[in-house]
């Protein structure tokens, strides 16, 4: 009897204690609300950055952080991150698109107060092109006169390279050939300035991997400066009072949070831990699009998802076979039923918006009839006799799903037997490079707003071609576009080149990427960008009273 009374008392105490605890905990303020009151933006950023040195980085997560820490000659504008607005330079001019003169603003400073001059830019280009630094994106600077030769060690005197500081605030850049798209290129972080006075304290200019990027040392000229770096936890940046446009900057801090799993990220967002996510898990895209449109954002990117075709192997040497493969893919259905994230079916290779005044040939449509006819012409009527081949992909659920769908389409529409071969990322890259595949999945991201960034990789022997395809006429057109001064003529040359490419089809374009992300409604000013540029000084928090928070 006593035993039962004891048990009852213990139970009552437990329940009472729990209820009290619940009362004290369930009404805590959410992390995003605390952060908003302090003017701190919590934004998820994909994978942990490999480095914070703009000359050594190659990834998108790093790109997003550099948009806060550094600023190039040309910068984003608050209204449109893809526009070419004044950055470290106030204005620039050119007569022939070969020689450009940039006028730097006199009040430009680094985040430690040191003045920013044209000599800093010369130093920076010298650094990234230094052979010993082994910077992967040094190739971004190759349009500059003698840059490639200097990087390869063929030219040893940097004075011969096409950049010179006329005075402290005037910079002249000389290119190999006319490039109207130079301002767009200059927004890329490989062209950003780096602080000589800090780098030289920690090592030589061309010594990769010194301590200059550690917290407390790193100095930049962007709207924010580095405050804290906790490995795989967060990178915090705070407002830079020396930034020339500091008056426009509204946020106090930005915290970049690396979350690799999209499911975990979405959960954190729902739990009130993030203001903005990096992506949206595929199954949740329709859910958010339909039920919470105020949280869901979607915008197109300058990237293409495509399949490479190994033209050195039978039967893919015959371009009719390749055309048949391309025309037999029903991209609309693929995107609508399987991907369902708003991607755009690719009717060509270069995505829309690739360049002002560029008319992309809008050629590829789903046409199973024509596909069958072409296949028959090539000697495989109704797919008879077509050898079995594999679609090579790297291991990822989305690639598998797409490959399986396309495999089905080829079987149904053409009667040919395709398999799906799934490999580890590194093995897959290796095989792609060695041309040890039949058809393989690939993606290409544009670096600047000009079709050349997409079309140049298909030249014979280009390091990113990887299909064995080469065409003398195509190479001729590409080289001609590099010499053409007239913008309209140049665009026509490029259109002709892409038309040729879409006739030869060493690759099968599938869709153009779209970026999906979630954002709290009180975050304003974060705009879409084809090139994934961000203008953080435009971002601010709306007054919570005016926002109906879900």
């Amino acid at each position: 009897m006593i035993a039962w009374i004891t048990r009852a008392i213990v139970l009552a105490c437990l329940i009472g204690g729990l209820w009290l605890f619940d009362q004290s905990r369930a009404h805590r303020p959410r992390r995003i609300d605390i952060a908003r009151e302090q003017g701190i933006l919590l934004i998820a950023n994909g994978t942990e950055p490999a480095t914070l040195d703009p000359h050594l980085a190659t990834g998108v997560p790093e790109h997003h952080i550099f948009d806060a820490l550094f600023e190039g000659l040309v910068a984003t504008t608050p209204e449109d991150p893809d526009a070419n607005g004044p950055g470290a330079a106030t204005h620039w001019e050119t007569q022939d698109f070969v020689t450009w003169t940039f006028h730097l603003r006199k009040e430009g400073k680094w985040s430690d107060g040191t003045p920013l001059t044209a000599h800093d830019f010369v130093y920076s280009y010298h650094r990234i092109l230094s052979p010993k630094l082994a910077a992967e994106y040094a190739s971004m600077l190759f349009p500059m006169l003698n840059a490639e030769e200097f990087n390869k060690g063929q030219v040893t005197d940097f004075d011969k390279v096409g950049v010179v500081a006329i005075d402290d605030h005037t910079l002249r850049i000389t290119l190999k050939g006319p490039a109207p798209y130079l301002p767009s290129m200059l927004k890329h972080y490989s062209w950003h300035p780096v602080p000589r006075h800090v780098i030289e304290r920690f090592g030589r200019m061309d010594e990769p991997d010194t301590k200059w990027t550690r917290v407390g040392n790193l100095v930049g000229n962007g709207s924010f400066k580095l405050k804290e770096w906790r490995y795989t936890h967060s990178i915090t940046v705070e407002r830079n009072p020396h930034y020339w446009d500091a008056a426009t900057v509204k946020l106090n801090e930005i915290v970049f949070i690396p979350i690799v799993s999209d499911a975990t990220e979405e959960r954190a967002f729902r739990d009130g831990q993030l203001h903005v996510t990096n992506t949206v898990p595929l199954p949740m895209v329709p859910v958010y699009r339909d039920r919470h449109p105020e949280l869901f954002h979607e915008y197109p990117l300058l990237s293409t998802y495509f399949y490479r075709v190994n033209v050195t192997r039978k039967p893919f040497q015959d371009k009719r076979v390749r055309q048949a493969l391309a025309l037999a893919i029903d991209k609309e259905t693929l995107i609508r039923n399987i991907l369902r994230a708003g991607q755009k079916p690719a009717t060509g290779f270069t995505p829309p918006g690739s360049g002002a005044g560029y008319e992309a040939p809008d050629l590829l449509r789903f046409d199973p009839e024509k596909a069958r006819r072409l296949l028959a012409e090539a000697g495989y009527p109704a797919g008879k006799g077509f050898p079995r081949f594999d679609i090579l992909i790297n291991t990822m659920e989305s690639h598998t799903v797409i490959a399986q769908a396309i495999q089905e389409m080829w079987k149904k529409n053409l009667g040919i037997p395709a398999g799906v071969l799934n490999q580890d990322w590194n093995v897959y890259l290796d095989n792609q490079r060695k041309l040890d595949y039949d058809v393989c999945r690939a993606g290409w991201v544009g670096d600047y707003l000009d079709p050349y960034t997409f079309l140049s990789i298909w030249q014979t022997g280009d390091g990113n071609n990887d299909t064995g395809w080469g065409n003398a006429r195509y190479d001729e057109l590409m080289q001609a576009s590099l010499r053409e001064k007239d913008t309209a003529k140049r665009m026509r040359i490029l259109t002709e080149a892409e038309t040729l490419l879409l006739d030869e089809l060493p690759m099968l374009p599938i869709y153009w990427y779209v970026r999906n992300y979630l954002s709290r409604p009180e975050v304003r000013g974060l705009r879409s960008s084809l090139l994934e540029h961000r203008c953080y000084k435009a971002v601010y928090f709306a007054d919570p009273a005016t926002v109906s928070t879900p």
């Binding site: 048990r7 605890f21 619940d22 905990r25 369930a26 805590r28 992390r31 942990e48 490999a50 480095t51 914070l52 040195d53 050594l56 190659t58 052979p131 010993k132 630094l133 082994a134 910077a135 992967e136 040094a138 190739s139 990087n151 390869k152 060690g153 990769p208 991997d209 990027t213 550690r214 770096w229 906790r230 490995y231 795989t232 936890h233 979350i259 975990t264 959960r267 954190a268 729902r270 739990d271 831990q273 580890d424 990322w425 590194n426 093995v427 890259l429 290796d430 490079r433 690939a442 993606g443 280009d462 390091g463 990113n464 990887d466």
Partner: protein, 306 residues
Amino acid sequence: MIRFLLSRTVQGIFVVLGVLCITFLLLRLAPGGPFQSERAVEPHIRARQEAHYGYDKPWFIQLARHIAGFATFNFPPSPKLKGMGVEEVIAQGFPISTAIAIPALLIALLIGVPLGTIAALRPNQLEDRGAMLLATLFICTPSMVLGPLLGMLFGLRLRWFNASGWYSADDWVLPAMTLGIIYSAYIARLTRGGLRETLAQDFIRTARAKGASLASVVFRHALKLACLPVLNYLGPTTAGLLTGSIVVETVFQIPGLGQHFVGAAVNRNYELAMACAAFYALLIVGFNLLVDLIQAILNPRIGFRS
């Protein structure tokens, strides 16, 4: 005693050395390397990168240089980790893993020992049956199931804690509870078993016959002896808590050493993977040594085995 310590230290060094070598060799066997990227890199640039990190030398020279580096605490730089050294990563990650492991251990003891004791003192009644049922249940619930369940219940539904992340001061609670609850089940069973066996022994019955109360008998005599199997279990457990928290760190998004290690292995970050593996080995060797020492002190009959 000194000989024991010395031999164990030497053994430990061998273990760590072996771990470094095996980790290095295995990762080298893996296809791909740290320099793979979808976008082709100019070959002359790639050659310079490899030269800087010493990847152009034959593998045994690389291994020797890495080992020399580790021995002198002059850790080799990693191409995947420019701007931060492996020692910084471990220095940041280890306190976080510890901040979860120690409360987990305490929770496991604080729940397990009393539960096991009560079960042993009221054999075959409600407390015993209930406690053992609970214990068995938790042993068979892996942390990858319990963790998300706790996260959803106490995080998303009840909103007592954050469902994931490492930002608030109390973010250690849910991960520690997940691990602690599961390990407490083992400890409860061990305590119950050990206590029942001890209580059935003659000298206890003698003491009771002489008039000692149950409480004093339990606390003064039985518990001390019953602790031995628990202690025996704790050695590998603590090491396991530190390393085996990988799942919990993944579920609750905690930037601990476990996550760093898995990430390093998957991303072919050789230097970080080697450093983490060697660190774990050091911890395990240290813990085994500690447990053996404590056991030898508590139970002189075991003595020091070489």
